[in-house]
């Protein structure tokens, strides 16, 4: 009896808690609605045919001409056509991606998108005159950018409304968008999305409408989204924005209608999979929704904690998260190539069964993708032309967040005494390149022929960490916060960032030559390796060199036998220094003793000592000897 009462009380308590949680998790669509210029606004109704892996869609577009030009066409990204066949610019030189042989695909496994109707306010069907254009490479078989001529030119400041219909067929996932086994669907870059009409670097207005080029991601205008999805009711659906309604169709057709709304996004993505289990939580004003495949449910708390840590850290060091919700999608392993990606208010991550807590690849990935909400989603720099403005800052903050919460020496993994910090991993990814001088950072993604990740992600993050160590973290935070506040929802470019850097450094009275530093980091291929070459006590001289063309000033700390020390300044243009002291009792000399120049290719050769501490060498040699004994004992079991 008592047991029943306790159970009843517990049941009521759990119901209240559950109700409270679900109410808290109700995403508020009334959040600040005037954050962005709202240039491109979309109302889309989707009818998903999960058997055919396709959707018939109705799209009401409102697009504002914010330029001083009169426009005679609208341009649209039609990126699903990159997966139409092997003739697209994205795939033409690719026959194998993520282990998939693309040559053996059946016709059903390819994707496409097609606009079937585009009615303007006067009833003209503009789709009749649509044509694909190829602004980048002239590949006439590439259909990833569509031009729709306007019957009536669009004047500056005017808004055009187009009632469009389009058909989209998903490919079996090659990368990102697509379908997988057991009715998995990821709809991203899936609708005709207007390209960006903006000022270029020379301040001339024009369409920024790149084809879907290899090595590039996305760039679009901000706007409001109202997306209604009509799909089979066996699917669990998640997406960008807030879910404002979710209902079954009254006629009991086995279908459901889900409506999402969101303001000030540059894109909208959604996912559907029958096996998803949903976990929700609220952190501050932000709702967190996690869609997990059942075999990964043990990772739900790790996903959740990582998002919370990302939110907490970024709100403190960058700025307030501007959206009411974040949806985290865990892709099933059979369609893993849909993961590792960011979309506004929605990220796709990845994990694998059995990864221990001491290996934080899960946290690292979730935090990386979530940090994109600030740099890809809110600042929304051009990821095609200046990917480093997004990926570089994101990796820099990923390093900071992981190292802050899990320690600099073991934030990425800490297993059996072997460990690595996240920033250490980023730096190593750059310094271990077979050629660290492979190319510049500040160039469009399609110009890279290798080294994209090592340069754009790792070198940029390491360069930002170097800058932070030189100017101090407080000033670095001030730069990032000022940049974020001044340029959110505006697509900032390199020049915008550099202007902020100069202003903030001046405000703090810093003499750091950021212009020269950023020029070298972004526009040259130079690298730096300081090397202490010699200590000669016969004459009291130290000798050091700087290998590589990267010019940066530093200092050398010289220690003497009597316990005294002396610091020498090393000018940025000097390739080598030789310094003679009165004392001939030099014990050691250390270039950049505080390791501010994290870009240095080899930190071990920065110092020389005549009284080396051999203990760690002995210790690690002994460990290797012991592991030899263990391994030889195990492997000789049959002998």
């Amino acid at each position: 009896m008592v047991e029943q009462r306790v159970q009843k009380v517990l049941w009521i308590f759990m119901t209240i808690v559950g109700l409270g949680t679900s109410l808290c998790a109700q995403c508020d669509t009334d959040y600040n609605q005037s954050q962005s210029p709202k240039i491109a606004n979309y109302d889309i109704e989707v009818h998903l045919d999960h058997e055919a892996k396709s959707a018939s869609c109705v799209q009401k577009l409102r697009w504002k001409n914010t330029s001083p030009d009169t426009l005679k066409e609208l341009r649209f990204y039609m990126y699903m056509n990159a997966f139409k066949d092997l003739n697209s610019t994205y795939l033409k030189n690719t026959r194998n991606m993520f282990g998939q042989d693309l040559n053996t695909r059946t016709a059903k496994e390819w994707g496409r998108i097609e606009v079937t109707e585009a009615i303007d306010a006067n009833g003209n069907d503009l789709a009749q005159n649509q044509n694909y254009i190829q602004p980048n490479d002239g590949n006439v078989l590439d259909e990833t950018v569509l031009s729709i001529p306007l019957e009536i030119p669009l004047l500056p400041g005017e808004e055009i409304r187009l009632d469009m219909k389009f058909e989209v067929k998903l490919p079996r996932t090659i990368v990102r968008s697509g379908y997988g086994p057991r009715d998995f669907f990821l709809f991203v870059h899936w609708f005709p999305q207007v390209c960006v009409y903006e000022k270029d670097k020379d301040m001339n207005w024009g369409w920024n409408s790149h084809q879907f080029m290899p090595g590039t991601e996305f760039f679009a205008d901000f706007g409001d989204y109202d997306v209604t999805i009509n799909a089979s009711d066996h699917l669990v659906i998640g997406g960008s924005g807030c879910r404002v309604s979710n209902s079954s169709v009254p006629s009991k057709t086995g279908r459901q209608i889900v409506n999402f709304k969101a303001h000030d996004l540059i894109d909208f993505g959604w996912v559907a999979y029958p096996e998803y289990e949903t976990y929700t939580s609220t952190f501050g004003d932000t709702d967190i929704e996690i869609l997990m495949v059942p075999e990964h449910c043990q990772f739900a708390d790790r996903y959740l904690k990582a998002v919370e840590q990302g939110l907490e850290y970024l709100e403190k060091h960058v700025g307030p998260y501007p959206y009411p919700k974040i949806t985290v999608v865990d892709p099933p392993t059979h369609t893993l190539n849909s993961g590792f990606m960011e979309y506004p208010m929605m990220i796709t991550c990845a994990t694998a069964y059995g990864i221990p807590r001491s290996v934080r690849s899960v946290e690292s990935l979730v935090i990386h993708e979530f940090t994109h909400m600030y740099f890809m989603g809110t600042l929304a720099s051009n990821e095609k032309e200046e990917a480093w403005l997004d990926e570089g800052f994101v990796t820099y903050f990923e390093d900071r967040i992981l190292d802050h919460y899990h320690g600099e020496q073991g934030s990425l993994f800490d297993v059996l005494g072997a460990r690595s910090g996240n920033a250490q991993q980023s730096r190593n990814e750059y310094v271990s390149m077979s050629n660290p001088n492979l190319g510049t950072i500040a160039r469009p993604g399609w110009e890279f022929d290798g080294g994209f990740k090592s340069l754009i992600y790792a070198k940029t993050a390491t360069a930002l960490k170097t800058m932070e160590r030189i100017i101090g973290r407080d000033i670095m935070d001030d730069i990032v916060q000022t940049y974020f506040e001044a340029h959110k929802f505006t697509h900032p470019k390199e020049a915008d960032l550099r202007k902020i850097v100069t202003e903030v450094l001046a405000k703090h009275g810093s003499d750091f030559d950021a212009e020269n530093y950023l020029d070298q980091v972004l526009h040259t291929t130079g690298s730096v390796d300081f090397k202490m070459v010699d200590i000669d006590n016969s004459v009291g001289t130290i000798k050091a060199v700087r290998e590589g063309d990267f010019e940066i000033e530093t200092e050398v700390l010289v220690n003497f036998a009597d316990g005294s020390s002396k610091t020498i300044k090393w000018g940025s243009t000097d390739k080598e220094i030789e310094y003679t002291f009165k004392s001939t009792d030099i014990v050691s000399a250390h270039i950049d003793p505080e390791q501010k120049i994290y870009l240095d290719l080899d930190l071990n050769n920065n110092s020389l000592t005549l009284d080396p501490n051999k203990k760690p060498i002995f210790k690690y040699a002994a460990k290797i000897g012991h592991w030899f004994q263990a391994v030889s004992q195990w492997t000789s079991f049959m002998m």
Partner: protein, 277 residues
Amino acid sequence: MWSSIIDISSKATKQWRSILLIYIAQLIIGIIVAMSAYQQFDSAIGSSLELDRLAKGFDRSIFSDMVNEFPIIIGKIKGRFLLGVAFFLLLSVFLHSGLLGNIRNRQYSITSFFTNAKKYFVKFLGVVFISLIKLVVTLAIIWVPFFKLLGNPLETFHSEKTLILTIVGLIILSVLLIIVVWLWSVISRYQIADGSGWVISMKNGWRILKSNFLKYYMLGIILILLHAFLTWVYTLAVDDWGAETWFCILGLVLIQQLFSIVRVWIRAVGYAAVDDK
């Protein structure tokens, strides 16, 4: 139960001279491998102040920079390590011939150890060779079909959980079957020590194993678990130890060597337990 464990342990411990000899042989090769590693590390970073940082604990950047700058280091250390293991494998047949012979013949001296090692080496080498073939065949039967059926794992398996659990299951199955091959090998060698020929020894070995299967098999599992437990304890207790002073490093080395001796002793326990004379 307890009394037989104590009996077996004491039978093995009585062979402390043989155990020590095997351990010393292993230690000498270990020292050669360790010295090589020491020289490599010393030539790369031996005059750097980064060693002070490394003294406080593992630092990934120091190792990464060292390997980036001197990529040949890892190859050299790995080469010495594998060469050492290969040499010890060959030497093991000789050493374990001595240990097995001593246990079987209730002899305890170093002289008898070498006499037995010399006497049984060639014959035991034959059994080892056949056992290795059996081992390879067993592993091939388990793993070749798996890899053939695997194809593209992400497409073959709905979830990587199935794949991982399948691999774990096959590893456990492999270990369980390897125990059988090992027990068969040891019992056969005892038959040879008793004067039987090769073929008869293998036959008798299988017959004896079959008739005492549960007893021997439990023993094999206990030994495997004991090794796994020791490794777990070692990595938990020692492997992450900073050991900044010479005194601490000496302590670390002593503990490491204690673990090494215990591993050899466990082997002797295994032999003593299978000895049913």
